[in-house]
């Protein structure tokens, strides 16, 4: 299968150089050609796996467990100002 690697890369928000795209294209095609063997399997009526043990999703009480840790959690941000994350201008 021919894949438009640059289109997929844009969906994944990864910039690729033309050389990278040229290298990746046949690799992705060979991976997908390999997984295409799944298409031949009869899965009519088979339930897709959602959780390996069919466990239900447990709920916990909606309470604060670890308090306000904003400073610690923001300490790893690339760019901050007054406790806000700074990104390039979005709206002119």
């Amino acid at each position: 299968m021919d894949i438009d690697v640059q289109k997929v890369a844009m969906l994944a928000r990864i910039r690729l150089t033309d050389e990278e795209a040229t290298e990746l294209s046949p690799q992705l095609s060979s991976i997908l050609a390999y997984v295409d063997q799944l298409a031949a399997v009869d899965t009519e009526g088979v339930t897709p796996t959602a959780h390996p043990h069919d466990a239900s999703m447990p709920l916990r009480a909606n309470v604060v467990t670890n308090g306000n840790r904003r400073d610690a959690l923001q300490a790893v941000a690339p760019k901050l100002e007054s406790g806000l994350y700074v990104v390039p201008k979005v709206i002119e």
Partner: protein
């Protein structure tokens, strides 16, 4: 001492023959002497290690010993730790310091363990050889030109060379068991949902599970006992999971009457002849110990790698979308706009294998392809699970090779991603089915270690530990150590 098991070191500590500080210093000296060759550790703070050891000795003197008091345990760079960097061996997390400990790290600390640094791994655990690490390839102590397996290759190499008596790894498609096999140590992946994933950097959330890498089966049980259990902050840990007596499971050391299933699909062409001979010899030994070998079939085994390479990359592409360079992680210089910031930061931060998997997953989940790939793979996953369910109606446990080949040469499989993917052919189905699996040494081929894999029904790690400890008691493969790192055993 360096090649002692965790439980032997525990006995010496309990008897007052040594101290946590002495033990820590011994392994720090070995790391200083050998890590440059092996590149098993990517971060180590010797002073911090000795500080923990001193605190442990003080705790023992004042309040008595906890379950892992004073025992050194290294952890893969995928576990968030408040002390030191957590980088997942990726440039996108270079110099990242986690603001909290992973749940299992908290549990190890509460049990008194001394955490000895971060071990090398494939970037984001994506790989089978530890060659995709952003911090350089890790080497196999049995042959320095060869890979230690992956993705938990640093943990495996460190334990095999006795730079630490034990380590934690994670296993998404075999990343504990395959490197354990290739370096001649024991590694266990618990049942999915047994151990909390909180604070473990996510790769494929429906498959990832943490577990021990050790010198003996009992050591694996000791560590699992300390880290397992429901975590209210990880809803995939199962609250009503059957409880086990982990240490008692290793005491029986008897497999009389045990029905061991031998699936023909795991002994196929492409398997190394000497590996096959070692595993078959191990099975004969089990028979001599009173077990009954039963030929079984797991008919969908050949589809496991294909299903995995849809499911794991799909989940990875979703999980790794969080690296947007806004809240944490690498950001490119002088972004022109938001899109440029995302695309360039991610290009610069991710290595080629991680990009390959993100793109594979993005494609599989993209509009128009979901049913053909992800949904189909999840249906095939159900069929693979049903194979195991049916097999366990007839047998107690399943035994297979852990890997069809021994450790390969560095660079041997890096050109063709698909060849690398196929090296996990014996371990992946266990993750897809959420089952517990254990690899232990069972011989040598081409003078390199061979691993025997045990697979049990969900929540029956006691069966794994029982079978493996009985085999271990009757053999001495686990006592072999790589000559270049030898010394007193």
């Amino acid at each position: 001492m360096p090649f002692s098991s965790l439980s032997e070191i525990k006995t010496r500590l309990d008897n007052g023959e040594t101290t946590a500080v002495e033990v820590a210093q011994l392994y720090l000296d070995r790391i200083a002497a050998h890590n440059e060759q092996l590149n098993a550790f990517v971060h180590l703070d010797a002073e911090h290690v000795l500080g923990q050891a001193q605190a442990s000795d003080a705790h023992r003197a004042k309040e008595g010993a906890r379950a892992l008091e004073g025992l050194p345990i290294a952890v893969k760079d995928i576990f968030c730790t408040q002390d030191g960097p957590t980088q997942c061996c990726s440039n996108i997390l270079k110099d990242f310091h986690a603001p909290y400990d992973a749940h299992v790290i908290t549990k190890l600390k509460e049990a008194g363990a001394v955490l000895v640094g971060k071990t090398n791994m494939d970037e984001f655990a994506m790989g089978s050889s530890t060659e995709t690490s952003a911090f350089g390839v890790c080497r196999n102590p049995w042959d320095m030109d060869r890979i230690p397996g992956g993705s938990s290759g640093g943990s495996a190499s460190a334990v095999a060379a006795a730079l630490t008596p034990a380590a934690l790894g994670t296993d998404t498609g075999g990343s504990i068991r395959q490197p354990a096999s290739l370096t001649g140590i024991t590694g266990m992946k618990p049942t999915y949902g047994r151990v909390s994933r909180r604070g473990i950097i996510a790769f494929a959330s429906s498959l990832d599970q943490a577990g021990p890498m050790t010198r003996t089966v009992k050591d694996a049980a000791m560590i699992t006992a300390a880290i397992e259990g429901h975590d209210a902050l990880d809803s995939t840990t199962v609250a009503d999971a059957p409880q086990l007596d982990w240490l008692k499971a290793c005491e029986q050391r008897d497999m009389k009457g045990m029905k061991i299933g031998v699936p023909k699909e795991y002994f196929v062409e492409g398997m190394d002849a000497e590996v096959r001979a070692s595993v078959e010899e191990a099975l004969k030994q089990c028979e001599a110990l009173g077990a009954e070998l039963v030929d079984i079939s797991l008919p969908h085994t050949h589809l496991a790698v294909a299903a995995y390479y849809v499911i794991a990359p799909s989940e990875a592409s979703a999980n790794l979308s969080r690296y947007d360079s806004v809240r944490f992680g690498h950001r490119c210089d002088n972004p022109e706009d938001l899109l440029d910031m995302y695309t360039r930061s991610r290009d610069e931060g991710f290595g080629s294998e991680v990009k390959r998997r993100i793109l594979t997953g993005t494609f599989a989940l993209s509009s128009g392809y979901y049913d053909a790939y992800y949904l189909k793979a999840q249906q095939v996953r159900t069929l693979i699970q049903q194979d195991f369910t049916q097999a366990f109606e007839k047998v107690d446990v399943i035994a297979t090779p852990t890997s069809p080949i021994t450790a390969f040469k560095i660079g041997e499989k890096t050109d063709d991603p698909l060849t690398m993917y196929l090296s996990d052919i014996d371990t992946i189905a266990v993750n897809l089915a959420g089952l517990p699996g254990l690899s232990q040494p069972c011989g040598f081929a081409q003078n390199l270690p061979v691993g025997l894999q045990w697979i049990a029904p969900a929540w029956r790690e006691d069966v794994l530990l029982g079978a493996a400890s009985a085999y271990e008691a009757a053999t001495d493969w686990h006592k072999h150590v790589p000559a270049a790192f030898g010394g007193e055993v």
